[in-house]
């Protein structure tokens, strides 16, 4: 699956694989893909190009696609306007710790839910699902009071610690993947005298690379983009995360939001996620074909 034929679908039939009437389908899919991909990428392109425009150029219509003069200084300006570097670091630290916590606790719980059907397991599973349905604003107030009693206000703890107790979304996702693993593998493990913890670590986890990568990326993205929780808990500006800082851009401090700087911030905010995706992409999409049946 890794090799993509060099010739396009319209190319003359190659010797190895005689092409059939499939070509019509392929051409239509190809054109569909090109058009939609163009539309999907346009806003992104616009974001990057706006980030390099001058303040004056922002107000032009029709919007210019490429900046008339490339204002690379915008990227310098943002680090001077806001405590941008610090916020960036804060968001990264919180994001990484959240991923670690989520991976460990969620995969443990997912394993438990996928492999056991003991008394009450269904009830616990439904309970867990129901926590996903609970809108955060609903538990916000009691949680806030709880964390303030623990003296955790204005620390990163309220943003990190809950992830070490698993998150329902990721447990559900992993549980769906674990449930598709063939039972025979675990029977074999059981016969070999594996403990359950070892089967989790040496059978379930290694076979779930793509699922785990997916969970890791989602956990990071969620933490990276979260606005409400850090707004609630962080009060001193040196502890601000990126979204909090970015939303302060539109605050009354600026009469007209500095759109070019906002787009700079958006571009920079995307970077870690893009990097993460670039690294994990292979695992992400290669799937679970090799689930060990072979």
């Amino acid at each position: 699956m890794s090799t993509i034929p060099a010739a396009g679908p319209t190319a003359s039939p190659s010797l190895k694989k005689p092409r059939r009437k499939l070509d019509a389908v392929s051409i239509v899919s190809f054109i569909t893909l090109i058009v939609t991909t163009f539309l999907m990428l346009l806003p992104l392109f616009f974001m990057v190009s706006t980030s390099l425009k001058s303040k004056k150029e922002l107000l032009k219509f029709p919007p210019t696609f490429l900046p008339e003069s490339w204002q690379w200084s915008n990227y310098k300006e943002i680090f001077e306007t806001l405590n941008f570097g610090q916020m960036y670091g804060n968001s990264l630290l919180i994001g990484v710790l959240t991923v670690v916590g989520t991976l460990i606790s969620s995969s443990l719980a997912a394993y438990g839910f996928a492999r056991y059907r003991g008394k009450g397991s269904n009830m616990w599973f439904m309970l867990m699902l129901s926590t996903m349905m609970l809108p955060y604003p609903a538990i916000m107030i009691p949680q806030f009071i709880l964390f303030s009693k623990l003296n955790w206000l204005d620390t990163f703890l309220p943003l990190i610690v809950p992830s070490f107790f698993g998150s329902a979304y990721n447990i559900f996702l992993l549980r769906q993947f674990f449930a598709t693993l063939p039972e025979e593998l675990f029977d074999a493990g059981r016969i070999d005298g594996c403990t359950e913890l070892r089967m989790w670590r040496q059978i379930a986890l290694p076979l779930s690379g793509p699922a785990l990568a997916t969970v890791a990326i989602f956990a990071f993205i969620y933490s990276w983009n979260d606005l409400l929780t850090p707004v609630l808990y962080l009060s001193s500006s040196d502890k601000f995360t990126l979204p909090v800082g970015m939303s302060s851009f539109t605050s009354s401090r600026f009469r007209i939001p500095p759109w070019h700087l906002l787009m700079v911030a958006s571009v920079l905010a995307m970077l870690p996620i893009v990097t993460l995706f670039a690294i994990a992409q292979k695992r992400f999409v290669e799937g679970i074909v090799l689930t060990g049946i072979k």
């Binding site: 893909l33 219509f61 059907r117 809950p162 598709t180 995706f277 992409q281």
Partner: protein, 285 residues
């Protein structure tokens, strides 16, 4: 089992169950967070049903959910199917489709706020290529919700990735066997692919509904629920009740109604899907 789920279980008790029960208690009280809660019985609940903004928020949220969730799922599945074929530049297309999903939350809301600008925004400019004169999206009560729905489709890439992972998990041997039996593309899709990816489909359907019942950031950053309450989402209503009007009791009652509705939806889908969702492990239902 309890060994494995104990971290979650503890977290559940401390970070979910206790707050849920507290908020249930608050929902029967008049509570401004500062003064101690005062018990008022069912007053919050009865008020809700006579409150126009409550019904407005229900309508907005349901409309958003019933349009954006199915369309987004279909888009995501469609793209996953296209990109699961051998097609030139497949890797590029996959990445390009997913790229927008990497901008979310505040950054996405800000970007689209700018794009939907009626006079200098990109959206109406692109529409003008096709001779369409775009409305003033976020400022018009008629179109603001549609604008947010359009924006939501931009992140269909997340769903596409999940579907792709699911499609990759469809054993090639099954597809080959079906082909040998003379099944056509459509037949294979219907009888092999769909059952094999049904857990992923179920997961996304449920999560999609739950998420869109909880839309908040867009309403908060882009429209503040306006214009004329056309984007007055349920959770935005809940938020303003608690933090603008300091009515934590009423807001808790709203939360409880939302919880019950969401649970009802999920329960129905799960029950209905039990007959159709296929797990290869076989041990699970």
């Amino acid at each position: 089992m309890y060994l494995f789920i104990s971290p979650w279980l503890i977290g559940f008790l401390v970070f979910a169950l206790y707050p849920i029960l507290s908020s249930l208690y608050y929902s029967f009280t008049d509570y401004d967070i500062i003064h101690p809660p005062k018990f008022v019985g069912l007053a919050n609940y009865t008020e809700m049903f006579h409150n126009d903004l409550f019904w407005k928020s229900v309508g907005v949220t349901l409309r958003y959910t019933f349009i954006s969730v199915p369309v987004q799922l279909l888009l995501a599945l469609g793209f996953a199917l296209l990109l699961n074929q051998k097609i030139p530049f497949r890797g590029f297309f996959r990445t390009a489709m997913y790229f927008p999903s990497m901008v979310s939350g505040v950054a996405m809301s800000l970007l689209w706020y700018w794009i939907f600008n009626p006079s200098i925004g990109l959206f109406n400019y692109v529409l003008s290529w096709f001779g369409i004169k775009g409305p003033s999206w976020l400022m018009s009560p008629e179109y603001a919700l549609h604008a947010l729905i359009i924006m939501s489709l931009w992140t269909a890439g997340t769903g596409m990735i999940l579907f792709l992972a699911g499609l990759q998990g469809v054993p090639a041997s099954l597809v080959e066997a079906a082909k040998l039996d003379g099944a056509g593309r459509f037949r294979i899709f219907l009888n092999v692919t769909i059952p094999m990816i049904s857990p992923v489909l179920l997961f996304q359907l449920i999560m999609g509904i739950i998420d869109s019942f909880q839309v908040f950031t867009q309403a908060y950053v882009m429209t503040q629920g306006g214009p004329n309450y056309s984007t007055w989402f349920y959770v935005y209503n809940l938020y303003t009740s608690a933090f603008k009007e300091y009515r934590a009791g009423y807001s808790s009652a709203l939360a409880w109604v939302l919880l019950i509705v969401v649970m009802l939806f999920t329960g129905l889908i799960m029950k209905f899907s039990n007959r159709y969702v296929h797990y290869e492990g076989g041990g699970r239902k």
